[in-house]
């Protein structure tokens, strides 16, 4: 179709073509087109088929209020064609069709509506119960929206931003723009959200003159220019508001253009005050076949012509209930559509100037008339008009039926903000009876339609929103308020509920194929509240979020029940507009920390795995059993990067009291130069952390925590001392310091070469703590520990020194066979020694006693109110707990997998860690088992995944499995 090219209101660029395909056939559009406008221009009238009855559906509005024009684009289902800008090469297909949109093999469903009264799923398909699974399959085949391939991967880039603003204005029409400009006058920061790709709202395409005689679209562009020139206003176009929460938190999502670095992004705006200026949509007219392709709303018809240059039809009949409909008829007549007749359901109240203009255009106006039935199969061919009482009828031929009962405010944002709404008899709208704190409304949604009043209400709301942020603008507000009062106020709205029809084919909700008759059936069954009827008939539960039935359902219900004067609105919930889950998921960053010796380990062939927040070297060869790494530690010497350990300084006059509160041991017994191994419990006595504590000087302690606890430790200690007002400081040194563990029988020989101190066993015995320098340069804190069961030293040094320290140790140990080892080798080495790793040998319910660590607990310090002590005292007498035991497999060939369960008649425990030990040649491990099974020699049956039900057996044995006397770590 040739477009009208010389309109000042056009939003397409006819010099830039864009191609697309629909159901395999090529079509042409232009830059600025939506998918829907391009297809409509290409002659497409049937976009898809309806949910239940497979009725043909076409363009009805242009803002995506219903699923009529939901299509699949490049594999993405349920794309709203009306609001999706056309991009070159889009592949578009119709939804819920067998065959094509025009020739749908399921079209016969439309004749079966008598089989499917309101709530028929609930009422007919449950008896006998066996029917339902079969019925469900058939229902799913016949009904539905788009289909997504199970292996579909969502393309695109998704982002998120969290701007703050003083004032957030929702809606970039004339009222929203004036509100934003007024609020910005006081220098406040304003965020302006607009759903369409441009500002302007209903002014954008209208040619009526505004106060100074220029057409409204020029005024809209002038306001948009002013907004663009105001630096405090940050404007988001193509941005649909989707949620409103307390404290005026507004959420929205923005669709990106070609220039943007995102396809869609989530926006969360924390504003002090909010102006809602979302305007009105048209209230659908209820008559028979009211959703036939060719029936469309007035705004849709006018915008097709004015914004996209497409004439919506050749021979038109109008059935409207507001002045905008009359305005549209005049405009389309001027643009070349033949208007046969305008039926206006209002008996009076029309703008006399518009009536006179219609008369001058020789367009007959029938007041008190309304469309009763649309004729035609896949497209409108004619219409039967009737008086609103239904006493007289006339049939006219046409190919376009512009139908609209009145206007309805877009008050979703107000409902989300929990503003109470009530029916207003003058406007016929649901209007807020009260507004949340610092929230204001403006524009057409308040019932005002006069262009100057729309702008004045915007200015008024903008100034009040600014005042709510503390702006001193009392004089301006008084002036704006009296200016608004001098202008026409809210206008009387059309009260027509339905055309005089029975309603079997009058659709109240297009998305869910719910008719006026369905509502009647629901009322007959005793439902009397719109909210319940909505659920029973499913009217308003589709993707359009009640955009089509939101206003009509309460009106129809009120008329059918005894509450005609007080219709009750249904509610809406976020997101107000369908949003991709990908948009909420955002960029999905993977963020990890690397230790200071990451590069050195990578150079040595380290294979890294993500462990908690860290990337750690798990293996140093392809052998995932780590045979060489393990044996090298047992025979020679190995280096382990333990920099991920939590490291803390705790100092101050009350430092000891804080330690006594959180550690189960008595920290008074700490002496300088000695290390104390201890644990922290929670209030249930369950172990949450273990590590070592060192007293460096009076009131100055250094302690380590497990890797996983490093992030929460300060918060934990502060929490459990929050009432005490103690004077101590906590410094998290986890990232500031690194740790290398040098372990193996030759560890001392390596250290001797580089340490500026005597490291002999007499000078630096087991469980001692020393501070010295390496190569007269690097200060280290050294702890002689034995986690892996060999002679070993943990050297703690500033992160910046760590690469050098690592290199020095590697060089010094070269002749002694020093090799790095990874986390898995350490895991096996310490398991052989019976040392636990929290989270591996414990779970949330495992307490200190279960792990056999009761010896750490000092019960004499009850004054300290140690966290977990009370619970441990109670748990001591509890025989019904899991206990940590050592086990040896009966068949020594291999160990069961970690996490395998221990069973008899029921589950009795699980294997924590088990490995084939290269050191001892036996398959051994640790397990948590029910206390009665914990005795030495007990035979345990182990069930392993994918074992075909074959149980494996083990005996409970004493731990440790390696060097029970501990001679090797003390050598």
């Amino acid at each position: 179709m040739k477009r009208i090219q010389d309109l000042p209101t056009l939003r397409i660029d006819p010099t830039q073509g864009r191609s697309l395909t629909f159901e395999g056939r090529p079509y042409q559009g232009y830059a600025g087109d939506t998918v829907a406008s391009a297809l409509f221009a290409g002659g497409i009238r049937v976009f898809g088929r309806s949910l239940k009855y497979h009725r043909p559906r076409g363009l009805y509005s242009l803002d995506g209020e219903c699923s009529n024009t939901c299509v699949a684009v490049d594999g993405i289902p349920n794309v709203r064609a009306e609001t999706t800008l056309l991009k070159d090469g889009m592949r578009v297909t119709a939804q819920n069709v067998k065959g094509s949109a025009r020739f749908d093999l399921m079209g016969f469903m439309d004749k079966l509506d008598w089989l499917m009264p309101a709530g028929f799923y609930y009422r007919t398909l449950h008896k006998p119960a066996a029917i339902w699974p079969l019925a469900m399959k058939q229902v799913r085949k016949a009904a539905g929206l788009g289909i997504m391939a199970p292996d579909f991967k969502m393309p695109g880039r998704y982002d998120e931003i969290y701007p703050t603003a003083d004032v957030c204005v929702i809606g970039g029409g004339a009222a929203g723009m004036t509100a934003a400009l007024a609020a910005a006058e006081s220098g406040l920061r304003v965020v302006l959200l607009e759903m369409r790709p441009w500002l302007g709202g209903s002014f954008d395409y209208r040619v009526q003159p505004c106060a100074d005689g220029r057409p409204l679209h020029e005024r809209a562009r002038e306001l948009a220019r002013q907004v663009a020139e105001t630096p405090q206003i940050r404007c988001f176009t193509q941005t649909a508001m989707v949620g409103a929460y307390s404290n005026n938190l507004i959420t929205a999502f923005q669709v990106g253009g070609n220039e943007d670095p995102f396809d869609e992004r989530y926006i969360e705006i924390r504003a002090q005050s909010v102006v809602v200026a979302t305007g009105c949509i048209e209230r659908p007219l209820l008559f028979d076949h009211n959703e036939r392709p060719g029936v469309m709303q007035a705004g849709c018809a006018q915008r097709l012509a004015r914004t996209y240059g497409i004439l919506p039809g050749k021979e038109a009949v109008f059935s409207v209930g507001h002045d905008l409909g009359l305005e549209t008829a005049l405009d389309l007549c001027d643009l070349g559509v033949r208007i046969h007749c305008v039926a206006d359901c209002r008996q009076d109240g029309q703008d006399p100037e518009l009536l006179q203009a219609l008369a001058e255009h020789s367009i007959p106006v029938l007041t008190g008339w309304v469309a009763a039935k649309a004729h035609g199969g896949r497209h409108v061919k004619g219409v039967t008009l009737a008086t609103v009482e239904g006493t007289v009828k006339r049939r006219l031929a046409c190919d376009l039926l512009v139908a609209s009962a009145g206007l309805t405010p877009v008050n979703g944002p107000l409902i989300l903000a929990q503003a109470p709404l009530a029916y207003d008899a003058h406007t016929g709208y649901f209007l807020p009876t009260a507004l949340p704190a610092k929230m204001f409304t403006a524009g057409r949604m308040t019932g005002r339609n006069h262009p100057a009043a729309i702008e004045a209400s915007g200015r008024n709301a903008g100034l009040r929103a600014a005042a709510a942020c503390g702006a001193d603008n009392g004089a301006a507000r008084a002036e704006a308020s009296s200016a608004l009062e001098a202008l026409p106020g809210p206008e009387r709205g059309s009260k027509l509920v339905t055309a005089p029809v029975r309603g079997r084919k009058s659709f109240i909700c297009f998305d869910e194929d719910a008719t006026v008759k369905n509502v009647k059936q629901a009322v007959a069954m005793g439902f009397d509240v719109p909210e319940l009827i909505k659920r029973f008939t499913s009217a308003g539960t589709g993707p359009g979020q009640g955009g089509i039935p939101g206003h009509n359902l309460p009106l129809v219900t009120a008329r059918m029940t005894a509450s005609a004067a007080t219709p009750k609105p249904t509610t809406v919930r976020p997101p107000l507009v369908p949003t991709y889950l990908a948009t909420y998921a955002g960029r999905h960053h993977t963020m990890t920390k690397r230790t200071p010796v990451h590069d050195a380990q990578a150079a040595a062939g380290g294979i890294f795995r993500r462990i908690g927040v860290w990337e750690r070297a798990r293996y140093f060869s392809d052998d995932q059993d780590c045979r060489e790494e393990i044996l090298n530690v047992r025979r020679n010497v190995g280096l382990l990067d333990a920099s991920t350990l939590g490291k803390f300084r705790l100092h101050g006059p009350d430092a000891l009291r804080a330690l006594q509160r959180v550690y189960v041991s008595d920290m008074r017994k700490l002496s300088p130069g000695r290390i104390k191994y201890s644990a922290m419990c929670n209030d249930d006595g369950c172990v949450i952390d273990d590590g070592v504590v060192v007293k460096r000087t009076e009131n100055d302690y250094y302690f380590t925590t497990s890797t996983a606890r490093a992030g929460q430790t300060i918060e934990w200690i502060r929490y459990h001392t929050r009432y005490d007002d103690w004077a101590f400081h906590l410094v998290n040194l986890t990232d500031a310091m690194g740790v290398v563990n040098i372990a193996g029988p030759k560890a001392r020989q390596v250290l001797e070469k580089v340490a500026d101190t005597d490291v002999s066993s007499t000078a630096f015995p087991f469980a001692a703590y020393r501070e010295f320098t390496i190569k007269s340069e690097i200060p280290v804190r050294a702890m002689r520990l034995g986690f892996v069961g060999e002679l070993s030293y943990e050297l703690h040094a500033a992160s910046s020194w760590m690469p050098a320290l690592w290199e020095i140790l590697e060089e010094a140990g070269q002749a002694l066979g020093v090799k790095p080892f990874g986390v898995e080798a350490q895991n096996v080495l310490r398991m052989e020694k019976g040392h636990i790793i929290l989270g591996q040998e414990s779970e949330q319910r495992t307490n200190l006693l279960d792990l056999g660590l009761g010896f750490l607990w000092d019960r004499t310090k009850s004054d300290a109110k140690t966290v977990g002590a009370v619970a441990l005292r109670q748990a001591e007498h509890d025989a019904d707990r899991l206990k940590l035991v050592g086990l040896r497999m009966e068949d020594n060939a291999s160990a069961p997998r970690d996490g395998s369960i221990i069973v008899d008649e029921r589950i009795r425990g699980y294997v924590c860690t088990a490995r084939k030990s290269f050191t001892t040649g036996e398959a051994v491990g640790m397990a948590l088992v029910d206390a009665p099974l914990a005795g030495l020699g007990t035979r345990l049956a182990i069930f392993e995944d994918e074992s075909d039900g074959q149980l494996r057996y083990a005996r409970v044995v004493a731990m440790p499995f390696y060097d029970p006397e501990g001679a090797r770590m003390k050598m």
Binding site: N247, L249, R270, I714, E715, R718, R722, K865, Q874
Partner: protein, 89 residues
């Protein structure tokens, strides 16, 4: 999260930055003669007030401090401390 909280050090901040630390139940009870039930009540039982309550929050993604504040649990909004008269009645 729509909730904003006022950290005594950092000022009003987005609720995402904080960790909830439970109702304000007072300091840990002394351990001498503490019955298991009294202990369990202290640790696990909550008043679950529908309305204004004093509670602990940690500014975990900020200064790290623990502080108490008042919140209306029905509207999920931070509120000023109510006048003292309510506790005496």
């Amino acid at each position: 999260m729509a909730l904003t909280l006022t950290c005594p050090i950092c000022g009003p901040r987005c609720g995402y930055e904080f960790r909830y630390g439970g109702e304000d139940k007072g300091p840990r009870p002394a351990e001498a003669d503490l019955s298991p039930r009294a202990w369990c009540d202290y640790v696990h039982m909550n008043r679950c007030t529908a309305g204004l309550q004093k509670e602990w929050w940690c500014h975990k993604d900020g200064c790290g401090s623990w502080f108490t504040t008042w919140r209306d649990t029905v509207r999920n909004l931070e509120v000023p401390e109510p006048a003292a008269v309510e506790t005496s009645s």
